[in-house]
């Protein structure tokens, strides 16, 4: 039996087990405010609530109290340009997972302000340098009227 083809389950047979699960899970910041012990996930369509609970408990060692999930459509997008054909993102399952009341999860800030400011500062410096270099080049022969700036004396 190959690893991705499972026999049909007959009542009384031993339980089917997955050795190499290929389900992915995304932890997502929810658009609506949730209680601190509730987390939102995006998972593949084929995953059931039972699968989600097992996945989190066995692989991530997280205790799960309750799982609810809905099917969501992928976004429709019209491409820019003359043709403007429509593309669709993949469908997914939105899972709302409830942890025990004692636990709380806060979504981390993945772009801290300090780093953002630093990168912005660098970008500004670069722009200034470029502008200065251009000005130096254009004003090269300003004292010698009638001579183009690419000409060096």
């Amino acid at each position: 039996m190959s690893s991705r083809w499972y026999p049909i389950y007959q009542k009384g047979n031993p339980q089917l087990r997955i050795f190499l699960p290929n389900f992915w899970m995304k932890l997502v910041r929810s658009k609506e405010p949730l209680p601190p012990n509730v987390v939102e996930f995006h998972v593949p369509l084929a995953m059931t609530n039972h699968d989600i609970k097992n996945y989190l408990e066995k692989i991530y060692n997280v205790t799960v109290k309750h799982v609810e999930s809905t099917l969501e459509n992928g976004k429709l997008k019209r491409s820019y340009g003359k043709v403007g054909f429509i593309t669709k993102e993949e469908d997914y399952r939105r899972a709302i997972v409830t942890l025990p009341k004692t636990e709380s999860f806060t979504f981390p800030d993945i772009c801290p302000k300090e780093k953002q400011e630093e990168s912005e500062k660098e970008r500004k410096e670069m722009k200034e340098q470029q502008a200065n270099a251009l000005k130096k080049f254009t004003d090269r022969n300003s004292n010698n009227p009638g001579i183009p700036n690419w000409f060096r004396i």
Partner: protein, 256 residues
């Protein structure tokens, strides 16, 4: 850290010359000290495992290695592969989460090829497991344990790979299945006509391709005076280059 310090202490000690082998060892260790003799598994961070380490937050570039190759995975034991699969799965989940969050926040996701690398190594791992599975099944039960498939003629009379699957009831007895999957006769006149037309179309396509190549070869001889004929023949194996060279089309604008 413990092992490293021990090595250095050993190297500092002066030893009698009779232990030349040991000294050589110490010299080797001096050159290449053991950096990491003890290895521990990663910390369990629960839901924070879905995120990258905080030092990579807001980074413009995250440097990582290459993906796992098949020949490297073939050496590993099955239990090692099983462990590695979960490491890769967690890494993939982390990367997908970070990519999604970056998209939401309008930031550039650093090094998106990391996802491809993880997926490639996962594919390789699965292939290696599959190889082992097939070998095991052929030893135990003469046939590969792969999903059975068959080459069939479909409704249009074309060859198609039909992958079989298991059913509770055999299809001879399953009335409902028979109703949903009626047998389509593909030996009718319409199908025969279609196949003739399809064959004609494919032949025409092939002929056009051949003629196009001939034209290209003639163009080459017409534009360049001294051309290596063998090299042209190598590039266009289906064309009789010598014949095309002597034709009228291949004549250039110079005296022969």
């Amino acid at each position: 850290m413990l092992t490293v310090s021990l090595c250095h202490n050993l190297a500092k000690m002066s030893l009698p010359s009779s232990l030349s082998l040991c000294q050589r060892h110490i010299q080797m260790l001096r050159k290449h000290p053991i950096q990491k003799a003890i290895h521990t598994s990663s910390k369990l961070l629960d839901l924070n495992e879905f995120f990258d380490s905080p030092k990579n937050f807001g980074a413009e570039q995250v440097r990582v290695g290459r993906s796992w190759r098949k020949e490297e995975l073939r050496v590993k034991s099955s239990s090692d592969l099983h462990k590695l699969w979960y490491v890769l799965l967690k890494e993939q989940n982390m990367l997908k989460t970070m990519e999604h969050e970056c998209k939401e926040k309008f930031i550039v996701f650093p090094n998106p090829e990391r996802i491809d690398k993880v997926q490639e190594s996962m594919e390789n791992l699965e292939d290696v497991i599959r190889e082992r599975n097939v070998a095991y099944f052929q030893l135990e039960t003469t046939h590969t344990g792969e999903r059975p498939a068959e080459l069939i003629d479909n409704a249009f009379g074309l060859k198609e790979v039909y992958t079989k699957s298991e059913y509770d009831v055999p299809k001879e007895l399953n009335k409902e299945w028979q109703k949903n999957n009626p047998v389509i006769d593909n030996r009718t006149l319409a199908v025969k006509k279609f196949l003739v037309l399809l064959k004609e179309k494919l032949l025409k396509k092939e002929y056009a391709k051949m003629k196009n190549e001939e034209k290209e070869v003639a163009q080459i001889f017409a534009t360049y005076k001294d051309v290596d004929v063998e090299a042209v023949q190598e590039k266009y194996p289906d064309v009789d280059v010598e014949e095309v060279r002597q034709s009228d089309k291949a004549r250039g604008n110079w005296a022969p």
